[in-house]
Symmetry: D2
Subunit: 301 residues, 4 copies
C-alpha cells in the first residue's frame, strides 16, 4: 500500500492531538481513526469520522417508544429486539465516514448502494496514479462451470502466468500511453477527461464514502456475503472488523440475524413444520423448485 | 418550555463530562450541545450530535479535485466556489442530529423533507403529554386576502379573544377526553393507538432528526424563507443560528447565495441586460406574466 | 365514502375513453384504473397510473444478466429467483400512482416510508372537509395488556358507547369551531394555516402517492402485517389486491417469500438443525432470550 | 450504432402493436417509444416506458392546492409558477424509463445521480461486446490551460493521429487479451468477473435507467450544461429533445428558468440595483472575488 509521506505525516499529526468533546465517544473506534487498513495490493480503508455508538441507538429507540421500553432494561436485549423486528430508524442515528482506495471495477459495484454520500477523486480534474490491482495467485480463479456469476478453481502454472503477464503488460502500456497523451512537452496534450478513457478497470481510485449504520449493514450483508465478488468482499470484511469495534452490541445482533440468518419462504416454513412432525419431505412434495430445494437442503445441513 | 427535572439533570451531566476525541471538533457547536433552545410556547431544538466542520467540507472537495484545488489556497474562497456552482457532495460530508419538540401540524410540514433520519415519539406506544401550541397574540393572523397560502393583519380585540378561547377550550377538552378514554379505572381503556386520534394538530410531539448539511441547507432555504409558515420558520431560524456557529464559512456562503440570492429566468436576465443598456422595459415588453413581472420588480427595488 | 358528483363524473369520463399506446399494458390494472376502492368509513384508494408489468421485471433482469439468464426460460421462475435472492432493482422498474383518502393519523404513519413521491391536499391553502374517521364497533379495541403497541379485546356496552360519543362530539365541535374561526362574516377570519390546528387526527386528508414496486412491497410487508395498526392495514390489504391484479407473478412471489416468509437468526437455524436430528431443544439450551424463543415456537407451530 | 438484428426485430414488433389504455397518453412520446436515438459512435438512448404528461403535473398541483389554484386557469401558467417557486413534487409525478448504451467513463459520471433506478448489464455474468468509444476528430480536445476541468483547442495533425492510434490500438489489444483470458479452449478460462478488469473505460456498457421528471430535470441542468463533459452532454441533449416532445409545457418552463436562468448572490443583486441607479460598480466596490466578478460580468453581457 502506498500512502505518500505527506499522507502519513498528516495521519500522525491527526492522531497525536486529541481534543475534548461533549459528544458520544466510541473508544473502540477512536483507536482506528485515520489509520489506513490495507486491502488488496494497493487499497485501504480508513475511518475519517463517526457519529454515535451503541447508546445512540438505544437512546433513539427510547425516544420513539417513550417510557414503554423501560422494561427492556438491558441495552443488548433492546438492540437485538430492534434488529429482529426490522426497526431500522434507530440504526440510522449512527453515521460513519470512510476514506477508501479501491480498483475502479470494485468502485462500480460499490456505488450501486445509493443511500450514501460520496466524494470521489476526479480524473477530469487531476491525474490518476500508476497503481493497478493485480490479483494475488490465490485469487486468480477460473470461471465457475455451475454458476454464471461465480468462480471456480484457482488457475495454475502456465495459464496463471499468462494471465498475470497480460494484466501487468496491459496496465503498464495503458498507463504509459495515458502519460504520453497527457504530456505537454512538444505538444498540446490531450484533455485529462479524455485521456483517462484509456485506463483499464483495475486502476485504483479513491473516495470519501459516508453512510448511516442501517445502510452500512445492508451493504455489508450483501458484500461480505460468500456470493459477493472476492475483490469487494475483502473491503466489506475489513469494514466489519471496524464496525465490531465501533458498535459491538449492534454488530453482534447483525451477525446473528443478518449475516448468519436466513429468510425462509412460507413453503420452506411449512416443510420444516412437517419434517419436525416426522414427515419425510422430498423436493417433489415440498412445492419448491429444484434450485430452491437445493438451497433449502444446504441451509439445514 | 417544559423540560422535566430528569431531562435537565441528564443535560447537566452530559455537559459536565468532556471526553477526548481524535475527530474534527467544532468549538462553536460544542457550546450548544444538549442545550435546549426554546421555540414557540413549549417547543425546543437541541443539538444531540454533529459530524464534521468547515474543514471537512474543504477536505472532501480536495479529495475530489486533488492537487487541482491547491491554487484556491483560501478555505472560504473554496467553500464559496462550491456553493456558487452547486457542488453539493462536499456539504453532504457534515451531519447533524437534533432533538426537536414541535406541534404536530409543524411536524407534518417538516417530515416532507425526505432525506433525513427520524425517530419520533410513538403515540401508539406511549401517552402524549398535555401540551398544546397556543399562538401568542402577535402570531394570531387573519387569512391573507391576496395570497391563498398566507397571513394578513393580526387579529385584535374580540375576535382574537374568541379564537384563543376556542383553541384553549378545545385542547383542554380533547385532552381530558383522551385521558378518560385511556383510563383503566373501572373500564378496559381504549387502545392508545386509537385514543390519540382525538388530539388536535397543535398537540406537541418530539423527535430525533438527523440530516446532512446539504439537505439541511435545502430545508433552511425553504423554511427560513419569508413565505414559510411562521410556526415552522421560527424553528428554521433557530437552527440557522446553530449552523452559523457550527460551520461559519459554509453558513456565510449559504446566506449570500441561497437565503439572500435569487434565481432569474432567461427572460429576466435579458430584461436586466436591456435595462442596463438604458432601455425602458415594461411588463408588456418583458415577455413575463404579470405575476412574474411583479416578483421581478420587487427583486430590483 | 363520499366522492363528489364532479369527481364521479370525471372518473366516468376517464374510464370511457381508452387510447392506443405502445407501452406495456397490464389488463388486470386497466380494470381498476380511476375506480375508488372504499376503505374505512370515508376513505378510498384508487389507481391513477402505473408503469410496467411482470414482463418489465423480467426484461430488466435480462438486461442485467444478459444471455446468462436464458436458461431460466420461465418468467415465474426468474421472478421467484429475484425475490428469493433480494435482487431489488428489477422490481424498481415498475411504478404505481395512487390517489388515497385517509385519516391524518394514518397519513402520519404512511409518510414515514420516505422513498415515494407525495402531493398532499394543503390545509394552508384550502379548507378541509367535515369528514372524520369514527371506528366501527368491531374496531373499537382496548389497550393490549401484554403488548404496549397493540390492541386487546373489543370494547363493549357502556364503554364503547361513551368512546363513540366522545369521538363524534369532539370531531363535530372541533369542526364547528374551525368554521367559526375561518368565517369572514363580520370578522377578518383566522388564517387557514392556523385554524387547521384545531382539527383532530381523525380528520381525513388526501394525497397522490407514487412509488416503485420494490418500495411498495416493503411498505406492504410492514403495513399489511398482523402487527400493523388496523387502520393502516386495511389500506395495505386493499393495495395488495390491486397489486395481485397488476403483476400477478411478482405478487405471488412476494406472498410466498415476504408476507408468508420469516427470517431466522443463526441461533434459530442451529436449533432447527438440532431438532431435525432429534435433539430436544429448550429455551435454556437454545441460546435465545425468552421473547425470541416464544416467537420461534410460534413460527414452528 | 449496432443494434443486433434481433433487437431491431423486437423494436419493430413492439412498435407495430398499439394496445388500448385508460392511462394518460403523451402522443409526442409515443412516437419515440423503443426507437434508438444514436449518440456518439456506438451509443444510443431509447425510451422504454413513461408515466404521465403535462396534465399529470397540473393535476397533482391541483390536489395539493385544492380549489385554490383554480384562478390560475391556464395550465402553462401554473406549470411556470411551480417551476419558478421550486415546487418539485408535482414534477415527481411523471416518470421515464430509458435504455441507454454508453461508454463506462460516461456511466461513472451518470450514476452519481442517485435518485434513479438502474439495471446495468453485468460483466460478472456476461461477456461485454467489442465496442469502444473513439472520439471523432472534432471531439479530440487538448487540456484547457485556464480550467483544470475543461477542454481547450482541438488537437490536430500528428498529435491527433497519434492519440487515435493509441486509443484504437489499446482498445483492440485489451479486448483481444480479454477474449484470450476468457477462452476455455485448452485451458480453464479466467472468471468473467476478473477478466473484465483489463478493459479500458471507453468500452461500452448499457443499462435501463428510470427516474422521475424532477430528478431528470436536475440531471439535465447539470449534464446538458456547457461545462459538462462533451461525452455526457450529447446524451443529455438527446434526452432534452425527447422530454420536449413528452411534456412540452414543463420543458419550456425548464428551459426558461433552469437552463437559461441564473442564480445571483445577494451581493450580485445589490450590484444590479446600484448599476440600475446609475452607479459605476467595479470588482473592488462589488464585494465579490475576482472569479465571482468575472462570472457576473459574463452574465450581464
Amino acid at each position: 500500500m502506498t500512502l505518500s509521506p505527506e499522507q502519513k505525516a498528516e495521519i500522525e499529526a491527526a492522531r497525536a492531538t486529541p481534543r475534548p468533546t461533549l459528544r458520544a465517544v466510541a473508544e473502540g473506534m477512536e483507536a482506528h481513526l485515520y489509520t489506513a487498513h490495507e486491502v488488496l495490493d494497493h487499497g485501504f480503508v480508513r475511518v475519517i469520522d463517526y457519529m454515535g455508538d451503541d447508546s445512540a441507538i438505544v437512546q433513539a429507540a427510547r425516544v420513539s417508544y417513550g417510557a414503554g421500553t423501560k422494561h427492556v432494561s438491558n441495552d443488548e436485549g433492546l438492540i437485538r429486539y430492534l434488529m429482529r423486528h426490522w426497526h431500522s430508524t434507530p440504526f440510522e442515528m449512527c453515521e460513519i465516514k470512510l476514506h477508501v482506495k479501491l480498483p475502479v471495477f470494485v468502485a462500480r459495484q460499490w456505488i450501486r448502494h445509493r443511500t450514501a454520500n460520496v466524494n470521489e477523486y476526479s480524473a477530469r480534474y487531476s491525474i490518476l496514479d500508476r497503481e493497478f490491482y493485480i490479483p494475488a495467485p490465490e485469487a486468480l480463479a477460473a470461471q465457475s462451470t455451475v454458476n454464471n456469476q461465480g468462480r471456480g478453481a484457482v488457475l495454475e502454472g502456465q495459464e496463471a502466468a499468462r494471465v498475470l503477464e497480460i494484466l501487468k503488460g496491459d496496465a503498464t502500456r495503458s498507463y504509459d500511453h495515458y502519460e504520453e497523451m497527457l504530456s505537454q512537452e512538444g505538444q498540446q496534450g490531450l484533455a485529462r477527461e479524455l485521456a483517462r478513457m484509456n485506463l483499464p478497470a483495475n486502476v485504483y481510485t479513491q473516495w470519501y464514502w459516508k453512510t448511516d449504520l442501517h445502510n452500512l449493514f445492508h451493504f455489508l450483508r450483501l458484500r461480505a456475503d460468500a456470493h459477493a465478488q472476492y475483490e469487494i468482499r475483502v473491503y466489506a470484511e475489513e469494514i466489519c472488523r471496524l464496525v465490531a469495534d465501533w458498535v459491538p452490541l449492534a454488530y453482534r445482533a447483525f451477525e446473528d440475524y443478518r449475516m448468519g440468518g436466513a429468510t425462509l419462504s412460507s413453503k420452506a416454513i411449512d416443510c420444516v413444520r412437517r419434517m419436525l412432525k416426522g414427515e419425510e419431505v422430498t423436493q417433489e412434495t415440498s412445492g419448491m423448485s429444484k434450485g430452491e430445494w437445493r438451497e433449502f437442503q444446504q441451509l439445514l445441513e
